[in-house]
């Protein structure tokens, strides 16, 4: 379960320069528990770059990211975040169960058990199916199930609705609302209009 204390994620005058092109400059945001940060902007505007900077895969060209007031490297940030990117991060030669057990081994157990999480993303009964036999939408739901089984406060999602059908999108929106109600926070990029009620959504347009 999430702790009741509130967490905060703060970006301070972030810049990202790629191939001599300034993607964004002096970007600032502050996110606290229960909020969603939606990054908008056209292709190539730096949405993914910003997410990868948040994850620590890229260094920002200027600026700092603070987790609960401390620099990310000095905090519990990595134990409290989960990332689902363009790449699913799941092994197609392993079964659904083996993949989730691996994610669990790399992190701490969270709110739901593996079986509860599979039921939540409508993959119950797929435990022993090799991932290569799953459809693209099912793979995506599996990679999102990872968010439920590990302990985390911050979800960083890069286009989470890709290859999901209408039901899948509604499902993820429900999960996101629940996560925020439990004191979690989410940073995501999306081309879809997200329909989230009762959640405080901040929007940043990078174009």
């Amino acid at each position: 379960m999430q702790t009741k204390s509130t967490h905060s994620l703060e970006g301070k005058s972030l810049s990202c320069i790629r191939d001599d092109r300034v993607l964004f400059e002096k970007l600032a945001f502050e996110l606290v528990s229960g909020q969603i940060l939606l990054l908008e902007g056209k292709n190539g505007s730096g949405k993914t770059s910003l997410l990868r900077i948040l994850c620590g895969f890229r260094e920002p060209d200027a600026g700092d990211i603070l987790w609960c007031g401390d620099a990310v490297k000095d905090s519990q940030f990595y134990a409290q975040m989960a990332y689902v990117g363009h790449l699913d991060g799941i092994k197609k030669e392993l079964t659904v169960l083996e993949n989730l057990k691996m994610s669990l081994a790399l992190s701490s157990p969270g709110q739901y058990s593996i079986h509860e999480a599979l039921a939540k993303v409508h993959l119950a009964g797929y435990d022993d199916v090799l991932v290569q036999a799953l459809s693209a939408g099912q793979k995506r739901r599996l990679s999102l199930a990872r968010l439920l089984i590990t302990e985390n406060v911050l979800w960083v999602l890069d286009e989470p609705f890709t290859s999901l059908d209408k039901q899948g999108i509604a499902l993820i929106e429900t999960l996101m609302t629940e996560h925020c109600a439990n004191g979690g926070m989410i940073v995501l990029t999306s081309h879809h209009d997200i329909a989230l009620h009762d959640v405080d959504v901040q929007r940043i347009n990078l174009s």
């Binding site: 895969f57 991060g89 392993l94 057990k101 992190s107």
Partner: protein, 224 residues
């Protein structure tokens, strides 16, 4: 979850993966056997010459087989995003990377050890040097995996890193080749080889301690 749990989970996963894509085990082993069996055919009926160069043949083949298998170390993890997930784990990346290297050695290095005695007899190596050959392989092939991992971690982000990988890694393999080959050669002649073995042990220990850190750092750069 504890670090040791994560460490063994990574080894276990990689071994299961290797079992499910068997070519990863078979390729370097097949290469090793093929190269060694071709030498007697190429050299002709000169058992003494063959016997004299047997340690070199076996060690050069092992080295090339190890190089051949290197790319598979991080490639699929890089391509499917598992590497990103591993580096995001709160556990220290260098320990998880070490687990991957150990699994890789179990899959590509250990099989060489198992067939090496057979191939050594095939090349006419004297029986009393077989033990030393195995010992050098046991100490040397993990070093090849550890040092190779640094090269792979640096080049995994490049589309065609194969050539650069060989240039980076081969010079670093040379000390292992020299001391291991020399030890087996001396053992064949009935001379003591303590010095070479001690040096190989120290190289292994050094690689074990020092390699995982730059590998983890290089991987972080590569997924940028």
């Amino acid at each position: 979850m504890s670090l040791s749990h994560a460490f063994f989970a990574v080894i276990r996963r990689d071994l299961v993966l290797a079992l499910r894509r068997r070519s990863e085990i078979a390729n370097p082993l097949l290469f090793f056997i093929l190269v060694i069996t071709l030498f007697p055919l190429g050299i002709g009926a000169q058992p003494h010459l063959l016997q004299a160069i047997a340690p070199g043949i076996i060690w050069v083949s092992a080295l090339l087989a190890a190089m051949l298998s290197l790319d598979s170390l991080f490639r699929s993890d890089f391509d499917d995003g598992s590497l990103e997930q591993m580096l995001l784990s709160p556990h220290p990346a260098s320990v998880l990377v070490l687990a991957k290297i150990i699994a890789h050695w179990l899959v590509t290095g250990l099989p060489l050890l198992i067939v090496a005695p057979l191939l050594a007899v095939f090349l006419g190596m004297p029986n009393h040097s077989l033990g030393i050959l195995l010992l050098t392989l046991l100490l040397g092939t993990p070093v090849l995996s550890l040092i190779g991992a640094i090269g792979v971690a640096l080049t995994v982000g490049l589309r065609r890193g194969g050539m650069i990988l060989s240039l980076l890694v081969l010079p670093l393999y040379v000390p292992v080749l020299i001391f291991a080959g020399n030890a087996v050669q001396m053992a064949s002649g009935g001379l003591p080889v303590d010095a070479q073995i001690n040096i190989l042990i120290s190289i292994l220990l050094m690689a074990l301690v020092l390699a995982p850190l730059p590998v983890a750092a290089a991987l972080k750069m590569s997924i940028n």
